[in-house]
Every structure is written in C-alpha cells, then in structure tokens.
Amino acid sequence: MIAFSQNAPSDKVEAMLNKGIFDNIFHNFEIKTVSQINPLDIINEHWDKIKVIRFKRKVKSIIDCAKSFELIHDKYGSFKTLLSDIPKGLKSKTDVESFWKGFNDLKKIMGDVKMPFFRSSTSLLHLLLHIGFPCIKPDLIVMRVAKKIGIVDFEKGERNLLQSVKVIQLYSVDKDIKPSIVDLYLLIYGGQRWAMQFVTKSFYENKR
C-alpha cells in the first residue's frame, strides 16, 4: 500500500511487485529482518529497480513500519489482537458504533508506536478495507458526492471524511449491502475515471 501511495503509477508499481522485486529486497517482509535494514543500503543498491514508487523516503517508511510492528508485537502480542474488537461485518447501528470505538483505539496505538502512513485516518481505513473490514477509503470523488447530497458541508477535512464513512456504513446496514458496494456506486455517479467503465457513456451526458 505504501508503494502505491502518493500518486505512484499503479500499473508500473503492480508490474514491479509482480516481478517479486519488493519481496526480494525486503526479505519477504519478515518483520525482524526488515526492521534492521538501513534504508540507505536499499536506496544505494536497488533504487533503479523500485523507482516507480516515486519517493525514496517510502523505503524508510516501510522499514519504520516493520519497527512499529515489532513494538506492537512486544506490547500486544500481535497486530491481529488489536483488530479483535473491530466488527468484521455490520448488521446494526451498534456494530457501526463498535467499529468506530475499535478504530479510534487502533488509531491511538498506531500513533503511539509512530506507525508511518497507517496512523492517519485515511490510510488506516484503507488498510482495514484491504484486510476485509467493512469500511471505505473515501476518494475525493466520493467526498464531492457526499457534499452534494448533504452528508458533509465540505469535501476536505478529517471530520468530514470520517462522517462520510459512517453515513455510508449506516446506509449499508439499512440496506444490507457492503459499504464498498455503496462506495462503488458513488464513484460511478461522481464520474471517477476508472469507475466510468461500468455505465453507458450517455449516463454522464444526461447528467450534464
């Protein structure tokens, strides 16, 4: 996720990852080993092979993530333990409330261990979504739609972002569908470039 972040070209990053270059350089992400790497060694020896990630500082972030995971392991046993209070599915408003209680607790711990990237709400939501939790990572397009229909007053700002996710989760509970499906519909409606493939061109012509 760090490799793909900050507008790195996703097709090129994917191709690089598929070749196993990252796995090789970062020792198959074995936490103890990675946490002891000097980022400069990787940059000096391998930057040409991984430069599609755009920023050299991401190498340090990956190594710092490993260090933070080590701290979590020492203090809490495992990262998985920290996820145990966050519901994997949403069936009621109480589940949504439990999700946010668990999210806030997890975010605090990520801050305490100085976890790069994933101590921010957006990236933490992205991580949780990626590992199967019922949330979304609101795209700017989704935030625009959220503003248009009055979920939030502004497209930007952490409070607005979290409020959009919560409303989408509550809607998901009400309709018994996954938040990620509601997210897809909002992306299509908002005209996100990738999502436009799912409706006829006339959809956007009629919307004008």
Binding site: W100, I149, G150, L170, Y171, I181, L184, F203
Partner: protein, 44 residues
C-alpha cells in the same frame, strides 16, 4: 467523538441522505453495463 458525530447525522438529515443514495443507485443501475458492474460488485 463517535457519539457526537452520530448525533449530527441522526434523524431527518440521515433519512433524506438515504433517499438521495437510493436515487443515485437507481440512476446508476438504469445505465449499468453488464456483466461488468455485476462482476465488480461480486468482487467487493
């Protein structure tokens, strides 16, 4: 913090928002390209 946000989004505002999302889903569905959209929904 969570409770405060729930207070803000309770009641009528949420009800109207849900109707707006219903409408968005209906509009998208009326122009959906199949089987592409169903396949993407399935993936999620």
């Amino acid at each position: 913090m969570a409770n405060r946000i729930f207070d803000v989004i309770e009641g009528k505002k949420l009800e109207k928002t849900f109707l707006d999302i219903d409408s968005i889903i209906q509009k998208v569905d009326s122009s959906r390209i199949e089987p592409k959209l169903s396949e993407e929904i399935e993936k999620r």
